[in-house]
Each structure stands twice: as structure tokens, then as C-alpha cells.
Symmetry: C2
Subunit: 383 residues, 2 copies
């Protein structure tokens, strides 16, 4: 893999009138509306997923700063370096080359001059402290914004929902494929790899995240690291399977539980209670207005069964990222909205013993009705 | 996957006298030396890889802010949330629980009070603008640092070098495994997947990055995105194979070229010249003092053959990240040092036609001598 020299830079741009022909870009209306709200002449997008959302362009690694998007009143620019020249981009994108020896900041300064930009919005929750220092040198009035695209991204458009539904459907098929192969003596890592192969080889899709496969006491650790673990399935084991699929860049997320052999009555009874609570929560969500109410309802239902509270949120938005807006937690300030996609995932954890979680990805339809997108049966799978 | 509620937090710490027993942590000497240099009472580490380097602890995703490390004169703390409680951590790490309802900033403030910290260093090239605002509220004198661990991390200790050598060795074996299976009609994606399966199934290792498998004109794009591409091998094709292995968290990086069937004499002749230049550059590197001289030497040697210059650096450091310090480029200010590990990877690119690159991972031994760690033969592989 080659490292950029910080030398030759490339500006890609496509005109506003072409936007509608590019898949996964926000509409012109949204952009104008967005700029008006920010009260800035232009907005610098630096978050990898926000750039993907607004332009459809992505660089090789979300971890390296190789691309900016600049939203002006007239145009949408993608600023990146020459290594991406003639790469795999949408044909509708046009090119504009900057002079050699410039940095991304230099290109940005040039564009600010061309468009007579006086005030520039930026993502304060994404640019680093140092990068804001570099931005200040460009000499425009800077305005910091947080979670700029969170709301926009949380309301899924038709094609986004289509991609998420496809990811969820692949997840259902993968569960059907892999469950018959689970048996005592198998390691958590083997099952994780089996799921990954099924997603990638079987369905030409991608992982939304590394599968969390956790047996018995490991399942009581909500963020168990399967790749670093050494868990093996035994007779009587309770197995947690939490994985997500990515289709056309959009994620799914689901968790199902498998009991192997002689599973204790205590586990079966607790599972039945958890399942009832998860189903009741979905039913309640149909009528709920604020998302924090869903969180509260779910926890209070668990409490009625004298079951312990879980130390994570009841759910999270799912889209280009597996964790995005909105949140289904006590701290959530959002109301439920048409087009939301989020998980509902209560769990019961007995540290050192075992843990269980049931997780669906759902979407909000007309009149607030909930549609469950992960359709694999939720009963405890007994092998 | 469950989302943190931002509620329950957990502080993990291990005493300085335990550090030496934890694999992949910097030594006490380094830490004291480091703090003295920063002239701060304590230092907040936020970069995922710097935390892994200093503590050996890692969270599930480098993309989400779920952990901080705090270096004080007496102790090294890891601040993270309850989802990682009882997770897969080194047994040598001890626990310290904070009260429920705190944020990571709250825990940090608490530690600053406990240790009477007046001045706090932080990573200005990692914390976001917003995060520095949160840090300011803690009310200590803040000092911003950049590339704080770059130099330390660029000089590999024995166990780090051991891990990198293992990664390189697995890479050699993978090449040996997969090359016989390459044939016309195969897609780039199939070969990439084949390499990944070999690394993960065959050698229980990980990818250092998604393999760049690029055929013919695609190989002229240094950051070609194989997963998004549609390339197919034909008779006479020239194939670029750029991949890296991760072993014990440490990376390798290498590129080899394969010609399929009736490869043109022009390609063979150009390859011979590139190979001669790459080998001469390694030879030159034995004697070089500054790294930018290596970059310049390599380009000037290519020019002697009247071959075009490449638009990326001649090499980059390799370690916990596949791109780290030092850089082998015109902008590099570093001298070559014992323990450096970096790539040497000149390329020749004819946009729209074909491209070729030869890349090795090398290390610097006593008296500046270069040892090549990626040992798979570099001749053009003809199938």
C-alpha cells in the first residue's frame, strides 16, 4: 500500500444538476436547506461516512484523512489526492486538477477564494484540534457544528431503506445457513469465521462489524472480543450470535441465541421472559412518541419479571454506520420519526455465568408503525 | 452490537511495577522519559493505536471513542466503559470502578484531582475540536502535542520486530499458496478473497489492510479499490498483488507482480528495470543517513532508465499501523535509525495501460544495514 506524498492533489467536482443521477447523494433541496440552516457560505465535510453520504465517494480507509467534501451554494466538491485519480468512482463525477505540491488545505483555500467564501462551517466533532488550526490559517470566519448530518442520515430515503432491507435479509439467510453446523467442541472463532464466509462468499456482501460470538459467561460481556477469545461450545452451552451485514454500504444488526444440548430450565425460563419483553417493547414502540420512552418501557418490563437491568442502550440507529442516530436510551432527546431505522436489543447478563440478548433492526413506517426487518425467528434455537 | 449509554464507566489501571509483565507496553523508563519531555504532569492518550502501544488494551472498533489512557508519574490508567468489564484483557490489569452516570471526561477529571494534576498533555492530532472543549472544562493547563508516539513507535523493540517478521513470513507463505491458482477468467475480487482466506484460515493471522489486487490499467491506480472493481484476468494480463498480514497486532506490507500468459516484451523489459532500481535502492539504503535521500536516489535511478516518476512516497513505516513513521519521501526529516521498519516500493504507472510496483518491508540493523523481511522472490512471476 502506498503512502500519499502530500504532493499532487486532485479536486473532483460534479455540478448540482448532476446530483440526482448519483446514487446515495442528498438532494439539492436538502443541500440548500442545509446551507441556509448553517448560515455559512460553505460547509466542509470531513467525516468519512458523511462524505460517503453526501457525495457517494469513499477512500480506501476510514481511518486516514484522504478526502474532504466542500458544499458551496453552487457546487459540491470532493477534494482528494492523485492516488484516487481514475479510480473506482461514479462516472457522473467530473474532475478538476489542482497544481502539484498543494495540500488539501491549499486546495480548500483555493476553492474559498474562487467562491468568495467568507464563512465556513466545519464538523467540530470530526476535525482534530490541529486540523482546525490549519483551517484557521485559511482566514475565513469559521463556525463549528456537531452531529451535522445525524438527523438527515437518521431519516432513511427509499433507496437507503432498500439497502438496509437487503442487508437484513442476507442476515436471515446466513443464520439459516450456519445454525445447522453449530456443535459442541466448536470454538467461538470458528462460528464467527463461518458467518463471515457465508456473508462474503455466499451472498457477496460485507460484514457490518466483526461478529460477536460469545458462549456462556462470555455472553455476559456485551462487548466481548471474539477474535481475542478462546471460548468453546459444550453440551448445555448458551451461545450468543450478534452480527451485521453490509449491503450497498448500509448495515443491518441482529442478535439471536442458541442453546446446545441440555440447556437448563433456568435459561429457558429467563429466555421466554426476555423474548416476551422484547416483543412487548416492539408493540409499545408502535405507539411511542419519544425514543427514551421505549428505553424506559423495556427496562421497566424486565423489572416486572425481577430480571436485572442491562448496562447498554435499548437500541441505536443503523445506516451507513452500525451505530448512528437516533439512540434509544434514557439520554435520547429524539422523537420517533418516519424513516428511522434502529435496533431494539434488551439483554439479561449474569456476569461469570451466562448472558442473553435479542436484537432486531426495525424501521418506522407511516403513522409511527414499526416494521421488523430482521425476520429470523426469535425463539431460543435448541440444537 | 450494543451502544454505550454513556452511563456506567470503568477505570482500569495497572501499576507501573506491573508494566514489564504486560506484552507490548512501553517500559517504565520510556514513560518517565516521555513525561519529562512533555513537561506536563500527565498525558492523555486518545489515539487507538497509541493506547494499544502503551497499555496493550484495545476496544472493538478503532472508529469509536471508547477508551482513553492516562499516563501519570505514578500510574498508567485505562479509562473505558462497563461493556469492557471482564472482557478479554491481560490478567495483569487491575480494576477500578467509577460511580455510575459518569462520562469519560468525568473520570478524567476525577483522576486529575486524585493525582493533583495541574498540566495535562493531549494529542492535538487526534482529539477533535469538540473534545478539546470538553477537556478545557476540566480546568487544567492544557498542552497540545502532535505525533507524540511516532518516534517511539518507529523504533521497534525486539518483540515488535519478532511480530513483524512473523507477519512478513506469513505473507511469503500466502504468496506461495495462492500464485498457482491464478488463471485467466478469474476476477480481482476472487484473488483478494483467496489471499484473505489463506491468511485467516491457513495461518490464523489477520489482514493488515484490504488486499489491492489490480489487473492491467487498474494497476496504474496506486489506490485502486478492489472490492468496488470489476477487473478480470486475461491472457497477457499484468497483475499487481499488494497485501499485508497482521500478526500479534503488527503489520507487514508487500507487493509482487504476476504476468499471465503472453506478457508483452515491453512489460518484461520495464519490469527488469524497476527490479534493478528497487534492488539498487535497497543497496543504497544500507549507506544512506537521511530517509529523504533514499527517496531521491530511487527516483533518480528510475529517471536514468527514462521511466516515469511515481505519485506516492518511496516508502512508509510499518508497525501497529500499516502507515506510520518514518516516511521515505522528499518531505521526510528523519534519519535512518536502528529498529526502523519501513517499506521500499517504487512503481511505474502508465494510466489507462498498466502499472507495476515492487514493495518490500525492511528493517534497519546495526550500523544501518538493511534486512529485507519480505523474502518472496521479486522476479516477475510468469504463469
Amino acid at each position: 500500500m502506498s503512502k500519499d506524498e502530500g504532493g499532487q492533489l486532485l479536486l473532483l467536482y460534479h455540478f448540482l444538476d448532476r446530483w440526482n443521477s448519483v446514487k446515495y447523494t442528498i438532494s439539492m433541496l436538502n443541500i440548500q436547506d442545509f446551507l441556509q440552516k448553517t448560515q455559512a457560505d460553505a460547509f466542509l465535510v470531513s467525516n468519512f461516512y458523511n462524505i460517503l453520504y453526501t457525495t457517494g465517494f469513499e477512500t480506501l480507509s476510514p481511518m486516514e484523512r484522504e478526502v474532504f467534501a466542500l458544499i458551496t451554494k453552487e457546487r459540491l466538491y470532493v477534494i482528494t489526492d492523485a492516488r484516487y485519480e481514475k479510480g473506482n468512482r461514479a462516472n457522473t463525477i467530473e474532475f478538476f486538477f489542482t497544481k502539484k505540491g498543494k495540500t488539501m488545505w491549499g486546495s480548500l483555500a483555493e476553492l474559498c477564494q474562487i467562491h468568495k467564501i467568507k464563512s465556513l462551517g466545519y464538523e467540530g466533532d470530526n476535525l482534530t484540534w490541529n486540523e482546525v488550526q490549519s483551517l484557521q490559517k485559511i482566514g475565513r470566519r469559521l463556525i463549528s457544528f456537531s452531529q451535522t448530518f445525524s438527523h438527515l442520515r437518521s431519516i432513511k430515503r427509499e433507496e437507503e431503506l432498500f439497502a438496509i432491507k437487503q442487508a437484513c435479509h442476507v442476515g436471515d439467510l446466513v443464520l439459516k445457513d450456519i445454525i445447522p453446523y453449530i456443535h459442541p467442541g466448536q470454538t467461538e472463532k470458528e462460528i464467527a469465521w463461518y458467518i463471515e464466509k457465508s456473508i462474503r462468499e455466499g451472498y457477496s456482501s460485507e460484514l457490518a462489524f466483526d461478529p460477536i460470538i460469545a458462549v456462556d459467561a462470555h455472553a455476559a460481556i456485551p462487548h466481548y472480543h471474539t477474535k481475542k477469545g478462546e471460548g468453546v461450545i459444550k453440551d448445555g452451552s448458551l451461545l450468543l450470535i450478534d452480527f451485521g451485514v453490509k449491503a450497498h454500504n448500509y448495515c443491518s444488526d441482529n442478535t439471536r441465541m442458541v442453546g446446545i444440548g441440555n440447556v437448563s430450565d433456568e435459561i429457558k425460563k429467563t429466555y421466554a421472559a426476555l423474548l416476551a419483553v422484547q416483543k412487548k417493547t416492539i408493540k409499545y414502540a408502535n405507539e411511542a412518541i419519544s425514543l427514551k420512552d421505549i428505553d424506559q418501557y423495556c427496562r421497566s418490563e424486565l423489572q416486572k419479571h425481577t430480571l436485572p437491568n442491562y448496562n447498554h442502550s435499548t437500541g441505536h440507529g443503523v445506516g451507513l454506520e452500525v451505530h448512528e442516530s437516533p439512540r434509544i436510551s434514557a439520554a435520547s432527546i429524539d422523537e420517533k420519526k418516519l424513516g428511522h431505522v434502529f435496533t431494539l436489543e434488551p439483554g439479561i447478563y449474569y456476569p461469570g455465568k451466562w448472558g442473553m440478548r435479542i436484537e432486531d433492526t426495525v424501521t418506522v413506517l407511516d403513522q409511527g408503525k414499526i416494521e421488523v426487518l430482521t425476520r429470523f425467528p426469535k425463539e431460543l434455537i435448541l440444537l
